[in-house]
Amino acid sequence: MELNLLTLCYLIGAITFILGLKMLSHPDRARKGNQIAAAGMIIAILGTIFLYRDDSGNRLHNYGWIFGGILIGGTIGTLAAKKIKMTAMPEMVSMFNGMGGACAALISIVEFNRLVSGSISHSGNTSLPEEFRGTLLIILLGLIIGSVSFAGSMIAWGKLNGRIKDFAFKGQHVANILLLLLTLGTAAYLLFSITASNAVLLYGVLAAAILYGVLFVMPIGGADMPVVISILNSFTGVAAACGGFLYNNKVMLTGGILVGAAGTLLTILMCKAMNRSLANVLIGSFGGSPEATAKKQQGSYKEISLSDAAVVLAYAQKVMIVPGYGLAVAQAQHACHDLEKLLNERGVDVKYAIHPVAGRMPGHMNVLLAEADVSYDNLEEMEQANEEFPSTDVVLVLGANDVVNPAAKTDSSSPIYGMPILDVELAKTIIVNKRSMKPGYAGIDNELFFFKKTSMLFGDAKKVLQDLIAAIKQL
């Protein structure tokens, strides 16, 4: 029951990390959670600086260097994080993650040298005394994991900001595995037969690990980078935990393991959200998936996940639903009304924009929505709706196609040229639900789906709406 001030600081740190991470997984409390974790981190750092005693009870020294380093790192970090554009955030995260990895690797190097000089060179031993074997193992692990994480993160960073292109060669898969084995082998050799003279092999391990990190990330496509960063993130966590073992430091241990475990789960969740397996992301990338390229040729539309769509809708001020023939086919009118009510309860303003020829008979949408008891007051005629789109946050297009096809306004060769349409593109965000990229009644493609503002949410309208409702309720 060793209770002293530093232990308390570390305990507080560990608890804030857990609480922070927990709160980070809830939209309304995420920000607070981040701040709590940051506060805990500050306590742990200050505690270390001022209260740390080594085994023999000595305080730390070199305060100048320490504060200098913190000042420099802090300033650069803050500036970089504040200046960066919203869209470039993921690459920033990747960069910072790499820094952490590098930090862990550096610690390992220093400690390695201390160990070698302390236990072998200076003590006159030719080999490592048995009791230090564990320490060495941890040092080597920290080095390898930290280096891989560092190198991988830097590549990911480069890819995301476009400086580094995808690169793969035949058999890279095998080469990677060999390289990994080499790294681990050398490390194992060091572990069991280290002497003063072969200690330099450490740098070989370092180099191999860095190379592995580079090759590991190189072939993976830019779209999958978030998953990669998440993996590397949990690697860094484990590297930090090695530090914890090394110094018998509980806060490093808990923080590191926490991130390692949560990061791994997060990676899996991310893959799930993309409907792919982790292996598929990491290995499937070799040679490039043909599916992905096929999609690209046809113009690039982007998909939105259910839960993202849920958040976008739940946090909007004003949502306009554009029903079409697909809503009728799916018989999703009741689900649609339920979504409307749910959003209303959350304070979102929901209206329906009814195009005069939506559906397959005059007034089809009226019949449909009346069946679900949608209030007449919430139905807006085309002209009225077109006036409201500019102030609309999200347009949710449910199984409509021709009636939101901008070709009617822009393409004089189109068979629907001249027909007035719903100008959904005036809204801030557009979510389109349909089952595929197939055209509607008029048989023509719809440029809207390829707009930057537009995201596709594929699936049968009824199923999608029910899932959306469930997802929003969970928020």
Binding site: I76, A81, M89, S305
Partner: protein, 90 residues
């Protein structure tokens, strides 16, 4: 120690079990900041480096800088990401 590790793994998994996928990125970023605890290791390295062990000093110094970058940058970036969610607290 081993108990702590295992319990921590449980906690880690339980704690983020129900994240909506919009929060994936901020959560990753927050976790990224948290593993910045390595900086404590860096500080210790630094703090007990012999004044003449220039290798340890310089590497340690670098480690402190990098670690701080990770911590500070991580938290600040996460905070900025999460600003988006503040709009409407409902």
């Amino acid at each position: 120690m081993i108990y702590i590790v295992i319990l921590m793994i449980f906690v880690g998994i339980e704690v983020i079990g129900h994240v909506p996928s919009v929060l994936h990125t901020p959560l990753m970023s927050g976790a990224n900041a948290i593993h910045g605890v390595v900086i404590i290791g860096a500080i210790i390295v630094m703090g007990r480096a012999e004044p003449h062990n220039y290798l340890a000093l310089s590497l340690g110094f670098l480690a402190v800088i990098l670690g701080t970058l990770n911590v500070v940058g991580g938290f600040v970036v996460t905070d900025r990401m999460l600003e988006m969610f503040r709009k409407k607290t409902k």
